[in-house]
Amino acid sequence: MAAPSMKERQACWGARDEYWKCLDENTEDASQCKKLRSSFESSCPQQWIKYFDKRRDYLKFKEKFEAGQFQPSKPTVKS
């Protein structure tokens, strides 16, 4: 399978950004962004979608962490 061309990459990034914007506006409620999600999925290779989903999780975590809002989960007490 050939790697996406510059045009295909840009189309994929564009669809990803639209979808991410929708998630931002709807407090991460994916059910509100189904249309954009399917456009994102049809514009990018499957492997990239997995990668970008993980990347968004990471970026969100980073944002929270840098804002000082991240609370590490309490260590589980061993019985």
Binding site: M1, R9, Q47
Partner: protein, 266 residues
């Protein structure tokens, strides 16, 4: 500064030599004569000049200065020689590194064999990545060619060769590299090779890479270190730039390296 440190020591040594000199000069009776002279003079007498005192203050200072200058000169000469020897050894080591270190044997995106010596005389900006890379590699390559464009636009600067080396030899064939590099810069050179050749060049430049699991489309992501490398016209690794550096910062750094560059090769 050196003389100031050495002079007191030198004078100290000279003063050790003085007493025997006094004994020899007035026919072995110096001690005696001196006592009589002292006894004749009154307690308030300050006529020090009249007593035989060895060399005068001016002469002493002159001897000290000459002696100090001699010692200092010898020390400086020894230091200069040592520094020169060190510099020669360093140049020799650099020369060997210039030829041997970081050498590679790869194919460019037109199918031509390429090794490091082919880039001698050119500044090289080098990035390792793969063509199926979702976002980081295209971003970094875009930044790399932006640097090249900035430097190209400045008259009087030597040209910079942009190079992209794949860490995914399985998929990045010569044809795949040719398709990929054309989107970035007309002079961007894509390099690929066998799994062993890619492993070898990555090892030389301390680049880590590891292919992830394949999905049903046989697609996968290659995790790899992200850095742009700068090689001097001697082929020596000169600097590297992490992802956080902007195109402007990298261009500034390259300009500084160009201004300071002196070839170690003949």
């Amino acid at each position: 500064m050196l003389l100031l440190v050495l002079a007191p020591k030198a004078w100290h040594r000279l003063s050790h030599l003085k007493p025997p000199a006094l004994v020899w000069t007035p026919g072995g009776k110096a001690g005696h004569v001196r006592c009589r002279l002292l006894s004749r003079q009154g307690p308030g007498d300050t006529g020090r000049q009249s007593r035989p005192q060895g060399p005068g203050l001016g002469t002493r200072l002159l001897i000290t200065a000459l002696f100090g200058a001699g010692l200092g000169g010898a020390w400086l000469a020894a230091r200069a020689e040592k520094e020169q020897r060190r510099q020669q050894q360093r140049t020799e080591a650099l020369r060997q590194a210039a030829v041997g270190q970081g050498d590679f044997s790869l194919l460019d995106h037109q199918g031509q064999a390429r090794c490091k010596a082919d880039f001698r005389g050119q500044w090289v900006l080098m990035y390792f990545g793969f063509t199926h890379c979702p976002d980081i590699c295209p971003d970094e390559l875009e930044k790399l060619v932006q640097v090249v464009r900035k430097l190209e636009a400045e008259p009087g600067l030597p040209p910079v060769q942009p190079v992209f080396i794949t860490v995914d030899p399985e998929r990045d064939t010569v044809a795949a590299m040719a398709r990929y590099v054309q989107d970035f810069h007309p002079r961007l050179l894509g390099l690929t090779g066998s799994a062993e050749q890619v492993a070898q060049v990555s090892r030389s430049y301390r680049v880590y890479y590891s292919a992830g699991p394949k999905d049903e489309d046989q697609d996968y992501i290659v995790d790899h270190s992200i850095a742009i490398y700068l090689l001097s016209p001697d082929g020596l690794f000169t600097d590297y730039y992490s992802r956080a550096r902007s195109a402007e910062q990298i261009a500034d750094s390259v300009r500084r390296h160009m201004a300071a560059f002196r070839s170690v090769l003949h």
